[in-house]
Symmetry: none
Subunit: 222 residues, 2 copies
């Protein structure tokens, strides 16, 4: 993880750099806005820590210029004293977060980690199950086949979920019934077949294999 610190107070910059290096990040430091913009534009950083009061080009400008150029690197703004930071302007220019000096070192590290985590969260944090080109995100309740999102109803999703959770194993119809419906379900057990049929049509025929007399199995390898 590479961080860029744009901060003109050399003592502070150095101390931050030292600390963040100790946390395991690769840290570069520049001392004015112009240089900061130039460096950050390389697009090789995972996060930019940006002071607002800077010689040359102030933090807002740097931030706005980066966004205008299409960079979506996370930006953490630093502001000298309470009130200096104009929240609306900060948000407008596209900063992701801000910290008011003086801040504790612990807080800074926490924010940096939070921003990096948030950024990396596109797919990582939620329980996502992948089997071949099938991707099932149980937190978002979304299903992808290759690049296409497949729209499933609540029951359809729940049935698929049962199969995915035990991918490669045979799951019996009664197990699916008990988990997706109720233990007390009184209806036609055929309902499971109906949903499997729908899933095959919406996804791909070969994905859910029937094991006669036993149940269904989600294929794990193509």
């Amino acid at each position: 993880m590479r961080l860029l610190i744009v901060e003109d107070e050399k003592r502070l910059a150095l101390s931050l750099a030292r600390g963040l290096t100790a946390e395991g990040y690769a840290v570069d430091v520049v001392h004015d806005g112009q240089e900061g913009l130039h460096q950050a534009s390389e697009g090789t950083y995972d996060l930019v820590i940006l002071d607002i009061m800077l010689p040359g080009l102030n933090g807002y400008r740097v931030c706005a210029a980066l966004r205008a150029a299409g960079h979506d690197v996370p930006i953490l703004m630093l502001t000298a004293k309470d009130g200096e930071y104009d929240e609306a302007e900060g948000l407008d220019t596209g900063a992701d977060d801000y910290l008011t000096k003086p801040f504790s070192y612990v807080v800074l590290v926490a924010r940096v980690k939070a921003l990096l985590r948030r950024r990396g969260q596109g797919a990582g944090a939620s329980p996502v199950h992948v089997h071949g080109d099938l991707k099932v995100d149980t937190a978002a309740r979304r299903v992808f086949l290759g690049d296409d999102e497949i729209a499933l109803t609540a029951k359809e999703f729940s049935v698929l979920e049962q199969l995915v959770l035990r991918a490669g194993e045979v799951v019996s119809k009664s197990e699916i019934l008990e988990h997706v419906w109720d233990f007390a379900y009184e209806g036609d057990p055929n309902i499971v077949e109906v949903y499997v049929s729908t899933l095959r049509r919406k996804l791909r025929a070969g994905l859910i294999r029937t094991v006669r007399g036993a149940g269904y199995r989600l294929e794990t390898s193509p």
Copy 2:
């Protein structure tokens, strides 16, 4: 954000609860120390407001017991008259802040916010959430869509906040109810739908997606 008020003066408790509810917090009230300890031990509160003079078990005891049990929820102590509060004892038992009655409403709210903010920082939570052109600042309780600030009421904001905090995931109606209203909420669950409807009108229709049979999901990518 869920708050617990432990206060035996019913009039005061009620008035605090009312005001804090208006600020957008979910508030529960209990009237004696025993019950307060019990409730707070559930660990579902983000902050506890604790009177010192209480029937059953006084505030110091409740506070100490909570800390002894490993709970680090922020605690704001209330004390009847100047001098009653023994600062050393309060700090010893692990309170985070205290207020001397009579206090103004504004001061109370400010302290509550400060404690919650402080906690949020330590945990690495960041107050600004950006998803596409939607920007939500949970500390300032402000919302921007593109360049325009959107005026939201307390409840509207709280509902949106729940969705933003888990952007991309499905949040069920009952989860929203429990966090924004109370566990004890007896009203029509349809209230959530009403607020979602309002948010869609004030923000943009496509932003909050209904996941039938499951809940709502804030869209993260266009």
